[in-house]
Symmetry: C2
Subunit: 178 residues, 2 copies
């Protein structure tokens, strides 16, 4: 499964423009299926998803995003979370939706599209996520935490500069090199 | 990339016994590389990793895990996190390490091994993670949050029962079916 490994390594956050090519419904379903296949703490399945590919609705949502991002994306996937306790006072909703998002980012890449994990931009104090949730009739016990644009890249793919492996991964003890 | 999509869908949490077949160092490196390739909030790279394949050290660590889990696994990967703020008071360390873990779970599967995301078991009030951290000489500003066993499955692979797609994913509005 070298293809799989290389795909994971080649995924990157894309913040450029998208081509005006629609994303087929079946691809959006496949992407969401991979997200829902992610593990969740005590199998509580705290994450839900809403894909948006209706042109008018997409336009409405884009107008709610200020400062503007993802304005050329032909489809969105919104990630919703519920505060469901796994046991006692332990809730793994952040872990759950993060694993779900990572699966979808990989599936998006595998299908030839690009995306980016937009969380802070919509969950900051100006609560863009709340406005999106209202427009999408999301009940109060669900919270939108992430927006994933989906589409074919128009611009160049850029890679984030990351620390060396030896600064972040070791064998048989902290800081011990291979 | 049908292989990739199917692999994501076929990943499951394995809690059975492992065969006593060692995991080659190059596979552990590949798995950790995929983990470090995950995105992180504002590229803060808050996640670090320690792989353990030394037999004596592995034995010591296993003795610290009570109730016992992963006792037959030929290798461990420990996931470490640092509280580094992305901006202002926002820290995405949970998102960061969760995406890292999910990448590794997929890579583990792609390479023919099984694993399971053990977080609650080691981070509960009895602080098994703290004991593991001490044995591995992990500095105080890093925290172990997850243990991933790595190995070839001895027992049957079982799948968690999950809600239907239509209960967790919708189009163009909350609860709207395809």
């Amino acid at each position: 499964m070298i293809g799989m490994i290389n795909l994971i390594k080649s995924r990157t956050s894309y913040r450029g423009k998208y081509k005006s090519i629609p994303v087929p419904r079946e691809d959006l379903i496949t992407i969401m299926e991979t997200g829902l296949a992610a593990p969740s703490g005590c199998n509580k399945q705290t994450t839900s998803l809403i894909a948006v590919d209706d042109e008018n609705l997409l336009k409405d949502l884009k107008e709610l995003i200020n400062p503007p991002i993802c304005q050329t994306a032909p489809a969105f996937i919104l990630v919703l979370t519920q505060k469901i306790y796994a046991y006692r006072d332990r809730c793994y909703q952040v872990q759950d939706y993060s694993a779900c998002i990572e699966n979808m980012l990989l599936a998006i890449k595998a299908l030839g599209y690009e995306s980016c994990w937009y969380e802070g931009h919509i969950t900051d104090d100006d609560d863009i996520a709340g406005k999106l949730a209202e427009r999408l009739s999301v009940p109060k016990d669900y919270k939108i935490v992430c927006l994933l644009p989906v589409g074919v890249a128009e611009d160049e793919i850029k890679y984030a500069i990351k620390k060396d492996f030896s600064e972040r991964a070791w064998f048989n003890g902290f800081g011990k090199k291979v």
